[in-house]
């Protein structure tokens, strides 16, 4: 039993942290968010240069053959810095689907470029009315003489407007299947928007979008298990990202309690506020423990039930802690916390969204109970 990051993991997390502190402070991030593209190609290239985009991919494709645990420290750094670049959709989600379900040719076509930072992906899966049910897929894929034709609408596709390729879920006559599509393929239209947590996402409309026979990713009709596996992996990453964001929220709130004076004394001398701060820290420690659980289980495809139940247990606690810590951080900052000028209000927005990303606490409670 040990909870340590090994030396390589520590070094990597430390170098990412140092890089972000220098090149991605709050002011620089603000400019990235306000830019037309909504993400920074230089930052992305730097992350690829540092090897961060390649960690969880096999060395055959230029990666490092790493695990979710190898990414925990990096995700914490992203959460701290509120990174808006499409790391989660590219590396955590769609990239995992390709790596776990793709043919040799698909992996060769996608992964090396992804690892080099030259290819960004998005996973077009969620649909109106699906809520968090992964099996709710109404988008249709029909076999044609020359391959496939996809029709349907995908909603809230994270990273879609800035992706080069999309992994799309669609129902064939055999069931839910995955397809790898060019975002600029005929019949694919993306309506972009800014998310509350300042990332780029979009609605994806597939109007008889055409794809070749090689577009099918994994076995036809058998994509659900793969989707759950990749979503669990991404959920584990987002748990660690949340831990990084929560750590910032706790630290900055504690600092505020020590410096802000009212009635002639620092407000941190008031017991009513001290106990609330303590409860935030307890929430944080519990959340960190659960992120360790999620990271450790995320790669265990062998025992899918144990993996899924552990990830859900983690997400329940993380979701609760996201709400608790973000709300308290704002409350303890008083009016200042409401201001867009303070980073903590942006952390609030990210934590608010993470609480529901890949399923809220209620969704995971039901899953956790179902798998008992």
């Amino acid at each position: 039993m040990n909870f340590d990051y090994n030396e390589e993991q520590q070094l990597l997390a430390e170098s990412v942290r140092r890089f972000l502190a220098k090149e991605y402070d709050f002011e620089k991030r603000r400019k990235v968010v306000a830019s037309a593209e909504g993400w920074s190609a230089e930052v992305w290239a730097q992350l690829a240069e540092m090897g961060v985009t390649g960690i969880p991919f096999s060395t055959e494709y230029g990666g490092f053959g790493g695990s979710a645990v190898d990414l925990m420290g990096v995700m914490e750094a992203f959460g701290d810095a509120l990174l808006v670049e499409p790391y989660l959709p590219t590396v955590g989600l769609a990239g995992q689907l390709v790596a776990r379900g793709g043919t040799e040719a698909q992996k060769k076509a996608v992964l090396p470029r992804l690892v080099e930072g030259k290819l960004r992906l998005a996973f077009a899966h969620s649909e109106k009315g699906a809520r968090y049910n992964p099996a709710h897929v109404q988008t249709k894929a029909i076999r044609t003489g020359s391959g496939w034709q996809l029709s349907g609408e995908k909603c809230v596709v994270l990273g879609a407007p800035i992706a080069d390729s999309l992994v799309v879920s669609a129902r064939t006559e055999r069931g839910v299947s995955l397809f790898l599509l060019d975002r600029s393929a005929p019949g694919v239209a993306v309506s972009p928007f800014l998310t509350l947590d300042e990332m780029r996402a979009g609605e994806v409309r597939l109007a008889a979008a055409k794809a070749g026979p090689e577009a099918l990713l994994g076995a036809e009709g058998e994509a659900l298990a793969l989707i759950e596996e990749a979503t669990d992996f991404a959920t584990a990453l987002v748990c660690s990202e949340a831990v990084g964001a929560m750590k910032f929220a706790c630290d900055t709130t504690l600092e505020y309690l020590k410096t802000r004076k009212q009635f002639g004394v620092p407000i941190g001398t008031f017991q009513a506020l001290q106990h609330r701060m303590v409860d935030m820290v307890i929430s944080y420690e519990q959340a960190k423990s659960m992120a360790c659980l999620a990271g450790s289980k995320a790669d265990s495809a062998a025992d899918a039930r144990d993996r899924a139940r552990s990830i859900s247990a983690a997400k329940i606690k993380i979701a609760d802690a996201c709400r608790h810590i973000s709300q308290e951080a704002i409350q303890l900052h008083g009016g200042m916390g409401m201001s867009e000028e303070l980073k903590v209000s942006h952390t609030f927005r990210r934590l608010t969204m993470i609480a529901q990303q890949f399923g809220d606490a209620d969704h995971h409670l039901a899953r956790f109970a179902r798998l008992d």
Binding site: M1, N2, F3, D4, Y5, N6, V69, M72, L254, L257, K258, G268, T269, Q271, Q274, H275, M277, V278, D279, V281, I282, E285, Q286, K288, S289, M290, C292, L293, G295, S296, A313, I316, K317, D362, L365, F368, A369, D372
Partner: protein, 395 residues
């Protein structure tokens, strides 16, 4: 990072588990499982079984009978005991007076008291709280005046757990009331409960049980050789001991056992629609949340232990988190069990024959009542928050 126990740790766990399965007497196991009251003899019997095995005081130095286990092994042992449902080891001698004597006692005191504590020959209790001194322990008033070869002790202690079983009591007393700081002028005395002038009066709690007492001291003579550490330095001893008292309040093994019991019970108990209660979504959500809390506590506990093992640092204010969450979970378990049992939580005591009386069901609500103590004792959870606020956060 690897959340699993190592092969050696698993082997150790299996050894403890196997030994407990073979050596925990069935009648004691049953009593714990049915929440029956444990007598002085029950408690001492289990204590002596462990003493014979050499496992009763794992944390003590080896020369005094300690096992030499590291913190993780000690944790595994405690959790296995909790999970197996052994009677508790009463901490006042083993985990409180013993460590104090080891740290502050004279050689003569160690030789006189430690073997008797180890072998379960003396039953100890703790004389800390007073009617006017609860969380503000240092305000205590029980007076000890030195004269000749003894102290003359007058005053009152309260909430004295198992004082009615005890042979000895360790007490904080005020030897010098003139000091400006209330933490000064306090001394740590060991007092024979058979001394003339001591009266023990039961305090019956709301669950109907007798576990705590008031202890009155009326001109009680205590030989000066029973003073531990220097006169007036009792607060140093008390602070050291409070750290020890908070060590094992996570009680994860015992909570796991209660959770398993609750799940099993809720699977047999019908809900309003006749289907098992455990399938009722509202109940099920409460149950799941509690299980997740317990998982989070267990991993946090292991994380702190791992940190301790690696850095060699004693547990700091982190332990307060385990106390807060651990006791909240223990309380929630008793509450949910009471809720699961539904209307049958109401019967309390049979009148006349108890042939038709479900004593297990009748024990569930009193247990809920009794467990309200957990967030109050051993430094209330609010005091624990004060500790974290000051020690960890620097507020």
């Amino acid at each position: 990072m690897d959340l699993n126990y190592s092969r050696e740790e698993l082997a150790f766990r299996d050894e403890v588990r196997g030994w407990l399965a073979a050596n925990l007497p069935q009648d004691l196991r049953d009593k714990v499982a049915t929440y029956a009251e444990l007598s002085r003899e029950d408690l001492l019997r289990w204590h002596r079984i462990l003493a014979r095995q050499g496992w009763v005081a794992p944390a003590w130095p080896k020369e005094w009978g300690g096992t030499g286990w590291n913190v993780v092994q000690r944790y595994i042992f405690e959790e296995e005991c909790g999970y197996a449902g052994t009677p508790p080891l009463i901490p006042f001698g083993l985990a409180m007076c013993g460590p104090v004597l080891l740290r502050f006692g004279s050689e003569a005191q160690k030789k006189r008291f430690l073997p008797r504590i180890y072998n379960g020959e003396d039953f100890w209790c703790q004389g800390y709280s007073e009617p006017g001194s609860g969380s503000d322990l240092a305000s205590l008033k029980t007076r000890a005046v030195r004269g000749g070869g003894h102290y003359l002790v007058n005053g009152q202690k309260t909430w004295t757990t198992l004082g009615h079983y005890a042979d000895w009591i360790f007490c904080l007393v005020r030897t010098d009331p003139t000091m400006e700081k209330k933490q000064e002028g306090i001394s740590f005395l060991l007092i024979d409960m058979k001394s003339p002038g001591i009266t023990v009066r039961p305090l019956i709690l709301m669950d109907g049980g007798h576990e705590v007492n008031e202890v009155f001291f009326d001109d009680v003579k205590v030989p000066v050789e029973n003073l531990v550490h220097e006169e007036g330095k009792g607060w140093t001893v008390a602070k050291y001991l409070l750290g020890h008292e908070r060590m094992n309040t996570g009680r994860i093994g015992a909570s796991k056992r209660e959770l398993a019991k609750l799940k099993e019970f809720a699977a047999r108990q019908p809900g309003d629609d006749g289907r098992p209660l455990v399938e009722d979504t509202r109940f099920r959500d409460r149950l799941s949340r509690l299980e997740v809390e317990l998982i989070a506590l267990e991993i946090t506990n292991l994380r702190f232990l791992d940190q301790m093992r690696r850095t060699g640092q004693p547990p700091g204010a982190d332990v307060s988190m385990l106390k807060i969450r651990g006791t909240e979970i223990q309380q929630s378990l008793t509450e949910l069990m009471m809720q699961a049992i539904g209307p049958h939580a109401q019967p309390f005591r049979p009148i006349g024959s108890d042939a038709e009386f479900d004593t297990f069901a009748a024990g569930v609500a009193p247990r809920y009542c009794n467990f309200r103590k957990t967030t109050i004792y051993a430094g209330s959870n609010e005091i624990q928050r004060n500790i974290i606020s000051k020690m960890t956060l620097g507020l």
